[in-house]
């Protein structure tokens, strides 16, 4: 069955959450700095030119020289610039409106980014004196500084030497991150998914080379043009190649071993992926004829099972391997 490309149906949307909790190791300078925060001690590092960098880095940003000379700086400092944030966002240091600040701690030559807890923008200015408010629970992370708060004090100018040694030093951090998306699949895949919900598999034909793509992605990757005509394929197909899965996937309730296969649906120009069931895993073969078994909600094929037809002749699918 061939029809002209239908007007795009209702846009599909689904939540998509990406989480990536990277475990990161620390070098000697970052380890000392973050362990120091846990102990309410702020360390900087001295460059060859004599500047004290806070937060400290392992290598000089100007000369790339390895930096190891640690010094202790004050927990009070001066705001070098600020920006009032009326609507705090997820993950930011405070949940009530606050000022983003760069603070040059007493004894440091560079400024540290953090939040300042203040009643309103009128209470904040460049040059404001502030001090660290420590988090109640500290683990060796930049968030051990809960935020800064306004605090009048005289600057302590000279940083003190520090060997950077602490008991039980922090050697790594887990940097958790989560980003939330709303995914929309676009026109071609929306048409495909709507048809699947009606238990029909609909591919799209390239107007240039006539290949039928299943599932369609909107473009013929060979010709670089939009696929246009919709073509219903299957429901039956042929196993073109397969593998036997022996390792159980996390959160997947399927007994191993099982077979995962490439299946060329009748009329399709390429094979799609699917699981084969209803046959012992060691009897699956190239050329096996299969048909879809729909998921309980009927929205997609859960797996494919043998139809009982004779195997397809190799010549009928050799171009689809």
């Amino acid at each position: 069955m061939t029809t002209e490309a239908a007007p795009p149906p209702e846009t599909l949307r689904a939540p998509l959450v990406v989480e990536f909790p990277f475990t990161r190791s620390l070098g000697p300078v970052q380890s000392a700095f973050l362990t120091g925060l846990r102990e309410r001690t702020v360390l900087g590092v001295r460059t060859e030119a004599g500047e004290v960098l806070v937060p400290p880095v392992e290598y000089d940003p100007l000369t790339a020289a390895e930096l190891r000379e640690l010094v202790e700086v004050g927990v009070t400092g001066t705001v070098t610039t600020w920006a009032w944030n009326p609507e705090p966002r997820t993950g930011q240091p405070l949940t009530t409106p606050f000022a983003w600040v760069l603070v040059r701690l007493d004894g440091a030559d560079t400024a540290l980014l953090h939040a300042l807890d203040a009643p309103g923008p009128e209470a904040v200015r460049t040059g404001l004196r502030v001090r660290i408010r420590w988090a109640a629970e500290r683990s060796g992370a930049i968030t051990d500084i809960a935020c800064f708060e306004p605090y009048d004090s005289d600057p302590v100018v000279e940083p003190g030497a520090h060997d950077g040694r602490f008991t039980d030093p922090v050697t790594g951090i887990v940097a958790a991150a989560r980003l939330d998306y709303t995914y929309s699949p676009g026109r071609a895949q929306t048409r495909y998914l709507h048809a699947l919900a009606e238990r029909r598999t609909v591919g799209e034909r390239c107007p240039s080379c006539s290949k039928v793509y299943v599932p369609p992605r909107g473009a013929c990757p060979t010709c670089g043009v939009a696929t246009t005509d919709q073509v219903e394929v299957g429901p039956r197909g042929t196993v073109t190649t397969y593998c036997i899965v022996n390792i159980k996937a996390k959160n997947l309730d399927i007994e191993v071993p099982y077979v995962y296969a490439h299946i060329a649906l009748d009329g399709a120009g390429l094979a799609l992926h699917g699981r084969i069931a209803g046959i012992p895993y060691d009897e699956v073969r190239m050329g096996l004829r299969v048909e879809p078994v729909w998921s309980e909600d009927g929205r997609y094929p859960d797996h494919y099972r043998p139809t009982g037809e004779p195997d397809a002749d190799y010549d009928t699918y050799k171009e689809l391997l």
Binding site: P55, P61, T81, P93, R104, L113, G218, T222, G224
Partner: protein, 355 residues
């Protein structure tokens, strides 16, 4: 530093872009990119198979999917197998890579494209993931917050004030009224503070879009385009990541890239600057020494359309298009990446003298 003179004549011979929109839920990335690719090829009469090198720029963090660019590649027509590369940043850097490829003589034409869909996620939060993971990223300082810290430094230093920033916003969106692709054509109120001192009007729109250019070398460029935009020089430079060690009122990386690209040898008549925030235009015009004789962002710039990952490439494309149609003889194009203008690319484009 003396300018670095390219060893081969290479020009931008065509430029195309999508209409930039707040959302494109009806389109997949390849469905958004493909018409732009067809447009830029049509302008030159080239087919995909005529292109010597293809390079693209995009970010998986915008799409929320790994290797998302491989799907967009479906729109190119990559068979028989093409010579291809991708950068995980703005397409301006893809153009740089393609330019170098042409300078080596390994290719005579290149297709460069880039795209970004900011609508599926929250771009302010997404951009925090490019920050130092030890000291910055755990605080989730969003892109507007970091730009606002820079803006306050400029205000404190007396380099600008809110009325001056509002004037930049107004000029940009007024110019964008003549740009059919702009997301924010025409002036609009500055609105409330997003992060003080930056108001809604000082910030770029959030949206989706794509752009593409074609590069060609020597006589081929003259065959493909009536008035090629010759790349006389191009360079990119980067500064330290930590904001606290930088002078946020200045952009030494932009200036150095401009010197290497040959910007200061003769005046330019046009500058397309990639300044997503009004305050960043203040930094760039000062670093580049641009005076009132230079037409800045006649397209409306990033304040009128900001498809992240394509905005920088669009600056190069808009500057080139202005040369193509005879509205500029020597133009500067700039692209940026990273927080508070951390990394900057500068190119000088010229048209042949007109009879």
């Amino acid at each position: 530093m003396t300018p670095h003179r390219p060893a081969r004549e290479v020009a931008i011979v065509a430029f195309a872009q999508s209409d930039h929109r707040r959302r494109t839920d009806d389109l997949s990335e390849v469905e958004m990119v493909m018409p732009v690719l067809h447009d830029v090829l049509r302008q030159t009469g080239l087919k995909a198979s005529d292109i010597g090198f293809t390079c693209s720029g995009s970010s998986d963090y915008l799409a929320g999917r790994a290797f998302s660019f491989t799907m967009a590649l479906d729109g190119v027509g990559a068979w028989p197998p093409i010579s291809e590369s991708h950068v995980e940043t703005d397409g301006a850097w893809a153009l740089y890579e393609a330019w170098v490829k042409l300078l080596t003589g390994e290719a005579d034409t290149a297709l460069v494209y880039s795209y970004g869909k900011s609508s599926p996620g929250s771009v302010r939060d997404v951009l925090t993931r490019q920050l130092d993971p030890y000291y910055l990223a755990p605080l989730w300082p969003d892109s507007v917050a970091l730009a606002a810290l820079q803006a306050q430094v400029l205000v404190d230093a007396g380099h600008t004030d809110e009325p001056a920033l509002a004037a930049i916003a107004e000029r940009s969106r007024s110019d964008a009224a003549a740009n059919p692709h702009a997301q924010l054509p025409g002036t609009r109120p500055q609105g409330e503070y997003v992060v003080q001192p930056l108001r809604t009007g000082d910030c770029p729109p959030i949206g989706d879009g794509a752009a593409a250019v074609i590069l060609a070398a020597g006589d081929l460029a003259r065959e493909l385009c009536e008035r090629p935009a010759w790349i006389r020089g191009m360079d990119h430079r980067i500064e330290a990541h930590s904001l606290g060690v930088r002078d946020l009122t200045d952009s030494p990386s932009t200036r150095l890239a401009a010197e290497r690209a040959g910007v200061f040898e003769r005046p330019v008549d046009t500058a397309e600057l990639h300044a997503p925030f009004t305050s960043q235009e203040v930094v760039l015009t000062k670093a580049l020494g641009l005076d009132a004789s230079v037409r800045i962002n006649p397209s409306g710039g990033a304040l009128a359309a900001n498809p992240v990952m394509a905005t920088g490439l669009i600056r190069l494309g808009e500057a080139a298009a202005r040369i193509h149609r005879g509205a500029s003889d020597r133009a500067l194009a700039h692209a940026t990446s990273g927080p508070c203008l951390q990394q900057n690319l500068v190119a000088v484009l010229e048209g042949d003298p007109r009879a």
